[in-house]
C-alpha cells in the first residue's frame, strides 16, 4: 500500500475509533449479549478495536518501510 493511502487509512481508523467509543457513537454497541469469548459485548467492543489498532499500525509500518526503501 502506498504511504499516503496508509496514512489516510490510519487517520480514518483513529477518527472512527474515537467516535464509536464515545457518546453517542457507542450506543448501538452498548449491550450485554451476545457474550463473545465469554466477554459481554460492551467489554468485547473496546477490546476488538484495540486489537484492530495492531493491524492498522502494522500496515502503516510496512508502507513506511517500503516508502523509505524506494527513497
Amino acid at each position: 500500500m502506498r504511504l499516503r493511502t496508509a496514512r489516510r487509512l490510519a487517520f480514518a481508523f483513529f477518527a472512527t475509533y474515537a467516535i464509536v467509543q464515545t457518546f453517542p457513537g457507542v450506543l448501538p454497541f452498548n449491550r450485554i449479549r451476545p457474550l463473545i469469548l465469554g466477554l459481554p459485548f460492551s467489554f468485547f467492543w473496546p477490546t476488538v478495536w484495540v486489537a484492530a489498532a495492531v493491524v492498522i499500525f502494522w500496515v502503516l509500518g510496512r508502507a513506511e518501510a517500503r516508502a523509505r526503501r524506494e527513497g
Binding site: G38, F43, A53, F57
Partner: protein
C-alpha cells in the same frame, strides 16, 4: 514456616534480582547528562517496548483497574479505550521529536518547546507543571506498594515499611544507573506484570465460577447495570455519558504529554525503533483485559474486600493459592508500581535541573548530573512523606495532575506542526488553559455536560494560542523550518542564551 514468611521471602528475592539488574544496566552508559537522561540515545526495540508498556501501566492499572471494574463496572472500560487512541500521535510526533533531539541535543519535552518558542518563563512553567503532576502520581505508586505489602503479609510488613522497602530499591538503581537502569528493570518488571495478570485473570474465574463466560452470565443476571456503559460512579449511581466520553478524550490527549513518557522519544536508537514501539503497544494494552476480569470476579465473591482497590489482593488471598504464587503476584504488583515510580523519580529530577534550573544558571554537565541525583532523593523523600501522612486526597490530586498534563499538548503540537504559532501565543494559551482547568476543578458543578476539566482547559488553551499567535509577529521561516519542516536552519540556542534569540 508461616505462609506470610514464604511470601515475604519470595518478594525479597524478587527485589534483590531487580536491584541487581538495575545496577548492572547502569554500568553500560556514559557518565554524561545524555547518558543519564537519554541512555546515549541507544535503546532498541525490546527495551523501548517494555519501557513504554511498564512505564504506562502503573499501580493504578494493577490495583485501581480491578477496583474500578469491581465497584464501577463498565465505567472501567474507558481505561481500555483511551490508551491506543492516546499513543497513536506518537507514531508521527515521536520520531520527529527524536530527530530534533539528536540534532539540537534535547533531552526533555520542555527543551523542544523552548527551542521553538524561546522563553525562560515557558521553560519554568513547563518544569513546574510537570512537577505538580508528578508528585501525586508518585504518591499513588508508593501507596500501591505499601497496600500490597501490608495485605499479603497480614500486616506483618506495615504500609509505611512496604512502601519504604520497594522505593529504597528503586532509589538505589535510579541513582546508580539513570534511565538505563530504569529500562532494564522495566523489561523484567514488564514481563512479570504480563505473566502474572494473564495467569491470574484466566485462573481466578475458572476456579471460582468455572470459566469467564459462566462468570459474566451470572453477573448479567444478578448485576446487569455493571455491564452496560457508562457504568457507575464512585457512589454507585449511574455515571454520566459526558463524564465517560470526556474521560476517554481527556486521557487520550494527555497520555503522550506525561513528560516522563514523552522524554522516552529521545532514548530510542532511531525512528524505526520508536515507530515499532507504537505498533506493538496495543499488545501491551490488552493486559487490561485479565486485570478487569479479576475485578469482575470480585463482584460475585461472597465476602467483600475492605476497599475496592484491594479487590485483587483480597481474591488472591482467599482462593487458596499456594504461598509461592501469592508471592509472585505481589512481585507483579510491585513491578507495576516500581516501573512507573522509577520513571517518575528520574523524570522529575531531570526536568527540574534541565528546565527549571539550567536556563537560569550556567551549570556544567558534571554539576547537572550530580544535582539530578540529589533531586531524585529529595523528590522521593517528599512523595514518600506525603504518601504516608495523607493518602486519602489522592484522587483529587491525581485529577489535578491529568488536567495539568492536558495543557502541555497544545504547545507541543504547535511547536512541531504549526508554523504560525508564536511565543506569546503559546505562553498565553498555557496560562489560560491552566487557569480554566483549575477553575472547573474547584467548581465541578459549573462543567457543561460533566465534561472533564482538562478537556475544557485544552479547548480554551488552543483557542487562546491561535488568537494570540495570529495577532503577534510571526517567527522567521529560517527558525520554524527546523521544527515544522522545509529548509534546514542553524540550531536555535538552548539555555542561558535562549532569551536573546
Amino acid at each position: 514456616m508461616d505462609r506470610w514468611q514464604i511470601i515475604t521471602i519470595v518478594v525479597f528475592g524478587y527485589l534483590a534480582v531487580t536491584l541487581l539488574v538495575g545496577l548492572l544496566a547502569g554500568r553500560r552508559v556514559s557518565g554524561s547528562v545524555t547518558g543519564y537522561v537519554a541512555a546515549d540515545r541507544h535503546f532498541g526495540l525490546i527495551a523501548m517496548y517494555f519501557v513504554t508498556g511498564a512505564t504506562i501501566f502503573s499501580a493504578f492499572a494493577f490495583l485501581g483497574g480491578p477496583g474500578w471494574a469491581y465497584s464501577r463496572g463498565a465505567a472501567s472500560f474507558y481505561i481500555l479505550s483511551y490508551g491506543v487512541l492516546g499513543i497513536a500521535p506518537w507514531y508521527f510526533a515521536g520520531p520527529k521529536a527524536g530527530r530534533l533531539g539528536r540534532r539540537f541535543g534535547y533531552v526533555t519535552q520542555a527543551q523542544l518547546v523552548v527551542g521553538r518558542f524561546p522563553s525562560r518563563a515557558l521553560s519554568l512553567v513547563f518544569a513546574l507543571a510537570s512537577l505538580a503532576a508528578f508528585i501525586p502520581y508518585l504518591m499513588v505508586q508508593m501507596s500501591g506498594a505499601g497496600i500490597v505489602f501490608s495485605a499479603v503479609t497480614d500486616g506483618h510488613v506495615p504500609f509505611w515499611l512496604g512502601a519504604a522497602l520497594a522505593y529504597a530499591v528503586v532509589l538505589v538503581y535510579v541513582l546508580a544507573g539513570g534511565v538505563s537502569a530504569v529500562a532494564w528493570t522495566n523489561v523484567l518488571q514488564g514481563v512479570f506484570m504480563l505473566v502474572v495478570a494473564w495467569a491470574l485473570g484466566l485462573y481466578i474465574p475458572s476456579r471460582l465460577y468455572g470459566g469467564i463466560g459462566p462468570m459474566f452470565e451470572r453477573i448479567a443476571t444478578e448485576h446487569p447495570d455493571l455491564l452496560l456503559l457508562p457504568g457507575l460512579d464512585a457512589s454507585g449511581a449511574p455515571w454520566s455519558w459526558g463524564a465517560y466520553s470526556s474521560a476517554i478524550l481527556a486521557s487520550a490527549l494527555g497520555f503522550l504529554m506525561w513528560p516522563h513518557l514523552f522524554m522516552k522519544s529521545y532514548t530510542a536508537r532511531d525512528d524505526d525503533t520508536l515507530r515499532r514501539t507504537v505498533i506493538l503497544f496495543p499488545t501491551f494494552q490488552l493486559f487490561l483485559i485479565p486485570v478487569f476480569i479479576i475485578g469482575f470476579a470480585g463482584v460475585l465473591f461472597p465476602d467483600p474486600p475492605a476497599q475496592p482497590d484491594a479487590v485483587l489482593p483480597h481474591l488472591i488471598l482467599n482462593t487458596g493459592l499456594p504461598a509461592l504464587v501469592v508471592g509472585l503476584f505481589c512481585a507483579g504488583a510491585l513491578s507495576a508500581s516500581m516501573s512507573t515510580g522509577d520513571a517518575l523519580l528520574h523524570g522529575a529530577a531531570s526536568i527540574t535541573v534541565e528546565d527549571g534550573l539550567s536556563p537560569f544558571l550556567a551549570l556544567s554537565d558534571d554539576t547537572r548530573r550530580r544535582l539530578m541525583r540529589v533531586l531524585v532523593v529529595g523528590t522521593g523523600a517528599l512523595a514518600y512523606y506525603l504518601a504516608i501522612i495523607q493518602h486519602k486526597t489522592l484522587v483529587w490530586l491525581l485529577l489535578t495532575a491529568y488536567g495539568l498534563v492536558d495543557q502541555l499538548a497544545p504547545p507541543v503540537y504547535a511547536a512541531l506542526y504549526w508554523r504560525r504559532a508564536t511565543t506569546p501565543g503559546v505562553l498565553a494559551g498555557l496560562l489560560a488553559g491552566t487557569a480554566t482547568t483549575i477553575l472547573f476543578l474547584l467548581r465541578p458543578e459549573w462543567r457543561p455536560f460533566d465534561i472533564h476539566e482538562g478537556l475544557l482547559g485544552a479547548v480554551v488553551n488552543t483557542a487562546t494560542l491561535i488568537a494570540v499567535s495570529l495577532s503577534t509577529t510571526p517567527q522567521p521561516t529560517s527558525h520554524t523550518a527546523a521544527f515544522v519542516g522545509g529548509e534546514p536552519a542553524p540550531p536555535p540556542a538552548v539555555g542561558v542564551a535562549a532569551e536573546t534569540v
